[in-house]
Structure formats: C-alpha cells, structure tokens
Symmetry: C2
Subunit: 590 residues, 2 copies
C-alpha cells in the first residue's frame, strides 16, 4: 500500500507515530511561518502541517500545490494546538517530513465542497468530480448499506439470489422495450427486461420457492423529470403463499432496512384500499404524515353511486350544479390567507399539471363568521353546513375544487400535498408507511380503446369479482398491493396467475389474440401446464427506496452513480452517440 | 402460508405433529393396501402415506395423481417402519388426512431426476423443468452462496458496491459491443458494457478508494462452446496500491470463498511469469495439478535466443532440422503404449484444433532400451541424450512435437493436458491456484496489422520496459496478473494508467488518432487531469468462478439460470426474434 493509514482514522492515540497518508488537497492555508493542508480521502480529512523554520524547502513545495492535487505524504502524528472537535481527526495533525505529488489537477470547474457552485449540467458532465463531494459520495456509500441490509434480510429468510438474463425477448405490454439488434441472427432483436417478472415466475415453477434479486431494469419511456431509462429493482417472489404472507414478509424487509441503516423502529404499516386512498387522498399513494382528508360535497360519478343532491347543488351556482364531483380540504389555521395568497393558490391549481378550472374557498373566520368565494350563491347557513362536513373550526380555511371525477380527485390530492408542504406538515423526520390494497385489475386506455393491466398481465383477480370479468372489467379488483411511504410509491406486488387458462383469459381481455399471446408468452403459458405452484411477490424501486431511506427524499438522481439527464443522455459520456459504419453494417442497420 | 413446514425439515422429533406440506409429486408407489408419494420441494423430499383401509377415498384420489402435480396435504407425522438413512426426512412419513391438488401437470418431456434423459436442446427449451432437477437447482443455490461469500469479504474490507450504468457509449476495442438504438435520439445508439472498466476507474478518480460489484457484462462475439453473450463479472478496483497489494487482497477473496463454500483452506498461491508459463506449460493458464513440464530440445525462435544447435538437429531428419521449436513432455509409465494408442494420440495432435504436423516419441523401455519413431535418424546414444533432458526413467514415454514456435507451444500445452487427463492426474478434489504475471502489454493482430492491448488499453506498463514502447512494443511487459486455478483462467487484473499523457500514448500505439481517442474516451482522458490517484484492480469471471468453486468444473452453462445456446439463442424464449413494425419505425430502423 502507498499509505499506512487513511485520512479518517488518526486520533490522539496515534501521537508520535510515523505515518504515510495519501489523498487529495482539499484546502491549504499559508500562514507565513507555517502552511496547512487539509488532505481528503473517502474516509475523512487530516491536517498536514509544514513548518517554514524546520522544513523550508518542503514548505515552499507545499505552497505551490493546487486544489485536488493527489499527494503522498510522510510525517509524524502530533497533537494540534487548535483542536477541531467537529472532525474525528480534529485533535491531531501530521508534521510533514516527506511529500510526493502522485498526480496534478487542473482547477476543477466547480468547487468540491458540500455545497457546490456547479450547475446541474456541469456537475453531470464532470460526474467524477461531483462524486468527489462528500454528500454525493455518502449517498452512494449509504446505498451500499441499504443493499447490504436488503440482502441480509432475504438471505436470513431463505431467499435465493438468482440472476436472470438481460438479453431477452421483446414482449411490450405497457411501456416500450429497449431492443438490441442481433448480429448472428440478422433482422432479429433481443430486448432488455423491463423487469424479470416472467423469469421469477418461472423460477417459482422450477421450485426455487423464494427468490430475490437486486437487478437493473430498462424502460424506454418518454422521460419525465426524475425518471431514468435504466433503474434498479429489488425483485422478489415466493411460492405457496397468500397475499397476507407476502405483505408480512416484505413489510419485515422495509423495517429491517430502516433499523439497520437509520436506526429507526417502524411501527406496523397502515393499510388502505385503493378506493379509500382515491376518495380521501385523491391519489393511490397517500402521504399520511398529515390528515387533511378530502371531503366530498357532491359525487355524481359511479364511485359516488350517482348521489346527486348535496350541500352544494341547487344554489344556482352553475359550476357546482354541473360538476360531477365537488370536494375539498380543510387547511387548519389558514383563514387569515390574504387575497394574494388565495390568488396564488388559484393560479397553482389552474396550472396544466393540476388542471382545475378554479378554486373555491370558505374562510371560517376567528370571530365565527364565514366568508366564501361564492357568497353570491350561498347564504351563511349553507356555508355553515359545508363547514360542518369538514369539522372546520374558527380560523380554518376550506378549499374546494369541482369538475369531472378523475381530474378533480387528482387535483384535490395535489392541492392537499401543496397545503401540507406550506403548513410544514410533511416532516423530514417522519416516516408513515402504508399498504395500498385491492387495486383495480384493469385501467381503460382511451387512446388504444382497450383495457390495460393496472399492475401487469400476470396479476390475479379476486375470486369474488370473477363474475365481473366479462361484464364489467373495470370493477374487478386485483390481488395487488403497493408499499407507500410518505406519499411515495416504493413497490408494487401481487399474487400471480398460475394457471394456463386464467392467463389466457387475461391476455384475451387485454386484446391479445391467442396467436399473439402464444408468440410472446408461449414459454410461460407452457410452464403453467407443468405444475406451477401458487405464488406471489413484489418489486421495490431500489433507487427511490434508497433516496427515501437515506434522506427521506423523493429524488433519485443523487443516489445513482452515473445517472442520465431528463432526455436520457449521459452527458459525461456523450451517449447515445453515432456508431461506426462497420458496426451498423454488421448489424444489418443502415 | 399454505404450509406449516417444508419437505426437508420433518424428523423423528416431529412425530405425532399435525402438519401441512406443499410440493411436487416426485414419485408414487401403489402397494395395494397402501400408496406412497414422494413429495418434493426445494428443501427436500417427504414421504406421504395413504392407507386404503382407513382412508379409501383419499387413497384412490392419490393413485390418480401424475408426476409433477402440485399438492397440498395435511396429516400427521409418523415414524416409518422402513427407514431411509440417506434422507434427512427418512425416518418419518406423513399419514395423509387431507389432500388438495393445487395444480396439475402434463407429463414432463424428460424425467425430473438427478440424471435426466433429456437432450441439451430439450432441457434448454424447458429450462424451468430442468431447473427443477436437484443438481441444477443446487448449482444455482450454491452460486448464491459464492456471491454471499464474495460480498462478505469485500464488505468486511471496506469495498463499496457501486452500480455502474448499462446503457453506455460504444467504444469497441477488441470485442464487439452490443448496441441499443435510441428512440429519443434517432440514429444514435447506446452500447451495453463489455465491463465497467472505465466507470470503476472514474470511481477511483472520485475517491471511492475501494469498489466492487457483481455485475452483468456483454460481448458480441462469434460464440464458441461455453461462451455466453452475457456473463457476470466480479469487478473490483483499489486506489493507492501497488501490484502486490491488489494480488494479496484478491487472493484473500478467493481463499475466503473456498473456505466458506467448500470448507477448504487453500495454501498461498504459486506465482509464475507469463514467459515461464508459455515455456514450461505451453499456455498462459497452466494446470499445476501435475508436473509434466515441457522440455525444449531446440529453439530457434526469438524467445530461445536463436540457439540453433541442439540434441535433435543435424541428424538428417529434415522435419527436426527445419523446425523452429522442438519440445516434448515425458509421460511417466507410458512406455507400454501400443501402436494403436500412439496412432490415436498422433491423430489427436493432428486435429485442426491442435494443428501439429505429427507426433514423435521415444519409448524408454523397462529393460533400459530406447525405441523411437525416428530410429532411422537417431542412434541409441542420441536418444539417450534426449531422454536425459527429460530425466526420463525406464517405463516412461517421451512425446515430441516440432514446428513453428507459437503453434508448437500451444500443441504441447494441449498434449500435456490430454496426457494429464489420460493418466488421471487432473484430480477433481485438488485445487492448484496460481498467479500468472508479467504479461506482454501488446499482442500483434495479423489481420488488422496493428498492436492490440493484451488485457485492455488501460493497463500500465512496467517502468523498466518504457524504453521499448517505441522500438519493440511486443517486448514491453504489463503490470498485469491473472488468477488461474487448475488450468482455468478466472480473473484478469492490472495496475492502470492514471495519467493523461500515458493514456494518450497507449491509444496512439493502438492506432487511434487523437480525434478518435478523444471521441471515444475523452471523458476518461479528461478525468485523468483532475487528480487521478494511482489505482489497480481485477475482474473475475463469476460464472466460471462458480463452476470451479462448486464442482471444480470448467463448464458454465449449468451455473446460469437461463443460459443461451452456442448460437446465442434463448431456446426457451425463442429469442432473438422479430419485433413489431411499430417498434422498428419508432427506432428509425427499417
């Protein structure tokens, strides 16, 4: 080794010891008689001291070194006169006797400090320098700890880590596949897996019983902010289980990881049906760190059972009379919101991402009076009636949205989160874990005019809903369950179909002809005929899981060593890029 | 859970317990009054007993069940009258009281037994059934153990597991890249990594200090037997190290794995230079389980220093007079080989894979006389002289090949292995671990008429050979080292270049223009200017490592869950395959 110690380990116990350290020049200070250098490596920072009186030449050499030079230095550990209690090595410094520059460095394009002055693009281009910053590097070191804890749990519970192939067959059903042209079979393609779904099911057919893998997956989507074309998944499957078994097992995994990585003991996860999540939180992944449930004032949609008359209709307020769904939330203590604040909120809900037509409000003033944005149509008694539905108290502000069901729910859900953020209710130190259950089996795709599987085509349906499969597919519930933490969907699982005829029925409902089903999925249909056990599983988005566990943050890019930007480009590599004409020719591409 | 226990855990201690088991019907025997079923799962086999007297209906139901049916059964654990000491559950059986068929099975296309009657193609097509066979499933379960041991070692030694990207840039230099057309950047491509080489080096530039990953890699090669287009690599890198440090660290890893998985304490690895390996074993990955070194009788090639005259030339035997290299091996106790045996060996060395022109021999008979295939040209005294060079004893057989250096060495190496096998010297229970060192930096590619990097273009050269870079590149030695076990190359590592100008020099020697080097590798050339530390590492072929550790076998396909065949096809999936016209259009492919 070029060094005897790292820059993070020397303390008062080492005083007097001759040591050799290697690292990067993080900072240097020239105090005339003495020069100090902070030497940094992955493990910490150690102060080097150069004395002008005793080692003039060395000191002059040290003064010429620039930031990020790579140094090898030998000297004696000595007690500092100015101790720094914030650093593990803050009690000591190295009195340098020998110095070697292992490599030079140009001036970095941004500062390598905890808070960098580099913009996103610059930091992406020089990702290897951005990774040198302690917070970013720590994210990745912590990510390793999360992976360790995950493996520890699965290993202890008898799960086998089995590697599944990356060069598979294109069977898009939902998102697009990335494909890989084959040179040995011209005109044919492999596909990169969107998940190892069918393989883990085959492993169950093979009798592996319990399987897990931390595995890369690929999805060629039109990229939204904070989506990556390649992402990592914790993929799991179990045989001879029911939904309850799977949920218990993976709830245990999440708890284990929080315990090991954060030292937190999570309580038992809450549980909620998809229907309730949509009704009360306007979203299938509610943030339960705060209450502020959505209250429906009118619901003409099928989910409301067509209940027309309510506290809001029939006041000659056309917007409300015409609306399919009217709902609101009660923001505690916000009655004092100014005109300006309310206008800003109105603009916010009208943005295309939210899509509401406008924002109604009722201020429940501290003096007990009520003031609304629709005073023209509603008398105080009517407003009171509404306020009662929210259990509003003096000082509260009721915010109301109206319109078509789906969009209004979504908007209410978003408004709820926005108000939660404004009111500081989304506590960074709080974790509220939730199972969302009983998802619909299908969702209607208006563009393609057909049903799509809400989870994926291998999800089984609830036995009691089987009769609806042909008559009302939209009402069939799946044996599907998601883990949601603080409003972030972390995983998605289900009990699978394990029977050929049921799987064929599912493909048929998804609009596949028997020939198509056979061409794409013949292997798994066949496998189901040779003794497939009942099985189910789950997949966690590992990148997002890491960002949640490590920093309670829903932003994955800082937890990936070499991420792509929002256009799917690797700016550092400058990829994708053109390839050689020879390569293209060999692949039969022009 | 559908079961209370697995099929591998019930013993005499459980007698009298009511239990529920799930599994596959492995075998059934109808003895008239009683029917027995062997129920199999991943954990073992448990015998089920159906009594015609007490449970007639159940017994009749059981008799109708076919092989590989999936069953759920409830009953009481009972002591067997006929115990089977070979099975952990052999002392007990289940007196069945309830039986449920969870799924039926068609008759499998081959028997699900330890020795299958299925051919390769059939087993590949029904891989999920092949994996149900205990030896194959065990290989994969053991593979998980190897991975666990590898991670355990690296975790304990402070290595960070950092995931590197799969959608990267095409920079072929040696093997071909698989490429992935980009839909968002039409006409452009990502490439799949042949290894994370440049990324792990960037992680060293970032200060990660110690990195490892068990990671999939891709190489679009013309497939030879037992090569896979995708394979798994244990990838490692360390900073501030010298060759010796890297070798010690990874030798430690191999020892740890053998200890944990096989319970074996390996001794310190032997070490050998590439030159010696080629000279004495005719190959850069010698099998040291047996001696039988190659002895050179004549060497006119540069490696022999042009030493022309020797014990074999000048006897008017034109083949030997003209040969560049003449060498042989001494097969102990084989002097009694018959004419037929020698003819077979001669045919064997003449096969195109070996490529020798013929095989010379000297029998050192038990009575002390010598008999050779070239008696016409050599008198007994000359033969004796040759025999002495081999330290041959009465009863030994000397086998001699002659020809051009490279081919003859290779043929001698192959012949040595063949004789080792014939003589039973390649012991399945023996592990001989070796570091091969001081590889040449370059090898000449006759087809492209240029130098190629023997390891890869990031390998550094020995400082003392630097003067030869421009004058005699073929003689420059690299700071490169391979782990070889029993003649199988398991890993390949090197100390890397960490300096821009040296890396540029390397690219130039490989025939890249500065523009090409910059286009393909600009990111790493740039990175080297911002304080790159000295670093080095290694990569192990994980599939082969598993096959060696688990069964001392050099055949990877049985250690991969879903392998491809020798044409790179997945027979089960029938992939690669055609893709939708819509997909092609979106990707700008016709």
């Amino acid at each position: 080794m070029l060094r005897t110690h790292t820059c993070g380990e020397l303390t008062i116990k080492n005083i007097g010891q001759p040591v050799t350290l290697c690292g990067w020049l993080a900072r240097s200070r020239d105090l005339g008689g003495m020069t100090f250098i902070d030497l940094r490596d992955r493990y910490g920072i150690t102060q080097l001291m150069f004395n002008m009186d005793t080692h003039k030449e060395l000191c002059e050499q040290a003064r010429k070194l620039g930031r990020e030079f790579v140094l090898k230095t030998t000297g004696k550990v000595s007690e500092r006169s100015n101790k720094n209690s914030k650093m593990p090595t803050g009690d000591i410094e190295i009195i340098v006797e020998k110095l070697e520059v292992l490599n030079e460095s140009k001036t970095p394009p941004f500062t390598i400090e905890d808070e960098s002055d580099g913009g996103d693009d610059l930091r992406m281009k020089y990702r290897y320098l951005d990774l040198r910053r302690t917070p970013v590097r720590n994210n990745l070191l912590q990510r390793h700890k999360v992976a360790q804890a995950v493996r520890e749990y699965f290993d202890a519970n008898g799960f086998a880590d089995v590697e599944t192939p990356f060069l598979i067959k294109s069977t898009p059903e939902g998102a697009r596949d990335f494909v890989v042209p084959s040179r040995l079979s011209p005109g044919e393609f492999y596909a990169l897996p969107q998940s190892p779904q069918t393989f883990k099911q085959l492993l169950m057919v093979s009798g592996f019983d319990r399987y897990y893998q931390i595995v890369r997956c690929f999805r060629d989507e039109d990229l939204r902010a904070d989506r990556q074309p390649e992402f990592t998944q914790i993929d799991c499957e179990m045989s001879f289980v029911e939904q309850e078994d799977v949920m218990n097992m993976f709830e245990g995994m999440v708890k284990h990881v929080f315990k090991k990585v954060r030292g937190l003991e999570l309580p038992a996860f809450k549980r909620m049906t998809y229907t309730d999540a949509m009704k009360y939180y306007g979203v299938d992944k509610p943030d339960l760190r705060f209450e502020m449930k959505i209250v429906e004032l009118k619901n003409l949609s099928p989910s409301g059972g067509g209940k027309g008359e309510d506290v809001v209709s029939g006041k000659n307020f056309k917007v409300y009379d015409d609306a399919e769904l009217i709902g609101g939330i009660c923001a505690k203590g916000c009655a004092e919101y100014t005109r300006k604040q309310l206008d800003e909120l109105t603009d916010w809900v009208k943005r295309p991402q939210i899509g509401a037509g406008g924002l109604g409000y009722i201020k429940f003033n501290a003096d007990g009076t009520l003031k609304s944005s629709f005073d023209k149509f509603f008398d105080e008694a009517s407003l009171k009636k509404i306020a009662e539905k929210f259990s509003a108290k003096p000082g509260d502000l009721i915010l109301i949205l109206a319109g078509a069901e789906e969009r209004t729910r979504k908007a209410l859900g978003a408004l709820r989160l926005e108000m939660g953020s404004k009111l500081g209710l989304r506590d960074k130190n709080k974790f509220e874990c939730l199972w969302v259950m009983d998802f619909p089996l299908f969702e209607w795709n208006e563009e393609e005019k057909r049903w799509f599987a809400m989870h994926h085509p291998f999800t089984s349906w609830k036995k009691e809903d089987e009769g609806l499969l042909n008559t009302n597919p939209g009402a069939v519930r799946a044996n599907a369950y998601d883990v949601v933490i603080n409003g972030v969907e972390l995983s998605s699982g289900s009990i699978r179909i394990h029977n050929r005829s049921q799987q064929e029925k599912m493909f048929k409902l998804l609009g596949l002809t028997p020939e198509e089903a056979n061409y794409k999925f013949g292997f798994i249909l066949n496998a189901f005929e040779y003794g497939a056990p009942p099985h189910g599983g789950i997949a966690f988005g590992f990148d997002r899981f890491c960002s949640m566990v490590i920093n309670n943050e829903d932003y994955i890019r800082d937890y990936i060593a070499f991420p792509k930007n929002n256009s799917g480009r690797d700016i550092m590599l400058d990829s994708p890029s053109d390839i050689d004409a020879k390569q293209k020719k060999e692949l039969g591409l022009k």
